[in-house]
């Protein structure tokens, strides 16, 4: 049974998403789509993001994932990741170490990253672990 707090929160979010929903069904949609992942947003852009990313997306995940990520909004998203490359290099050092350890200790020769988000993981290892391993 959902709590009263959860119901109130959902109702509040729905109300906040109404302007965004109106924008989605208007000719202005194209102008707002690239702003979906912009770090700084106007109130209208926030409402649009709320509607698209938190409500509409879940009605058809594969359709909207392709639509959002393959277009300009996805470009902005990847640019954000790329701009944080140095921060990520430190932040994710444990994860990169673990990944490297698994690859090397098991003698793996073919490694695939699905969702390479601006080359984040590949670009985070400039060091050459061995003569043969170029980790990005």
């Amino acid at each position: 049974m959902p709590s009263l707090k959860s119901l109130v929160t959902k109702l509040y979010l729905l109300i906040c998403a109404i302007p965004g929903a109106l924008l989605w069904y208007s000719p202005l949609r194209k102008r707002f789509l690239p702003t979906l992942f912009s770090p700084e947003k106007s109130a209208l852009q926030r409402s649009f993001s709320l509607f698209v990313l938190d409500i509409l997306f879940y009605t058809d995940v594969s359709k909207y994932r392709s639509l959002i990520i393959s277009q300009e909004a996805g470009d902005v998203w990847c640019d954000i990741y790329r701009s944080r490359k140095d921060t990520y290099k430190k932040l994710f050092s444990n994860w990169f170490d673990l990944l490297e350890k698994i690859i090397l200790s098991n003698g793996l020769a073919r490694v695939m990253q699905v969702g390479c988000a601006g080359g984040r993981t590949f670009s985070s290892r400039k060091k050459i672990a061995t003569n043969k391993l170029h980790w990005g």
């Binding site: 990313l53 990520i69 470009d75 673990l98 003698g107 490694v111 695939m112 969702g115 043969k132």
Partner: protein
């Protein structure tokens, strides 16, 4: 040690093109544009290890199962998920059904699904975790008898 080849797959074509340009001097990294649920990259590239970092959270529960099943079918030895879980709405120890977590993402029990498909699983929590969001690193290793 053999030359290690890295393949990066992404839905975003611009990113793929930029990455190709940035890493053009590194010959063992390849970037490929496409949707992993449309094109069978596992069959094409025969990776031994497949990993996601902040990507599988955007899969549905069924897509996650398809992803693991496809990887297993194509002989992938390791699948690693490094993905966030919102602890306030998802009990990773007990919940097995995926739940939307907002912002296009889902909470999934990666450990459960990898186990369901016969992978030996080890899990850890990354230091990047916060009070509300746990970054789990789940390593699935294919059983040698499979």
């Amino acid at each position: 040690m053999p030359q290690i080849s890295f393949i990066g797959v992404d839905l975003n074509k611009t990113t793929i093109e930029r990455n190709r340009e940035v890493y053009k001097e590194i010959t063992n990294i390849e970037f490929v544009h496409g949707d992993v649920f449309v094109r069978n990259f596992f069959s094409e590239y025969k990776p031994q290890l497949v990993f996601t970092s902040g990507t599988a959270e955007y899969f549905t529960e069924n897509e996650l199962k398809t992803f693991i099943a496809q990887a297993k079918k194509e002989g992938v030895a390791f699948i690693i998920f490094r993905e966030p879980i919102t602890t306030a709405i998802f009990d990773y120890l007990h919940e097995t059904r995926s739940k939307p977590r907002g912002g296009m993402a889902f909470n999934h029990n990666y450990t459960f699904y990898l186990s369901q498909f016969g992978f030996q699983v080890s899990e850890s929590v990354d230091k990047t975790s916060t009070k509300d969001v746990k970054d789990v690193i789940v390593v699935g290793r294919r059983n040698s008898v499979d």
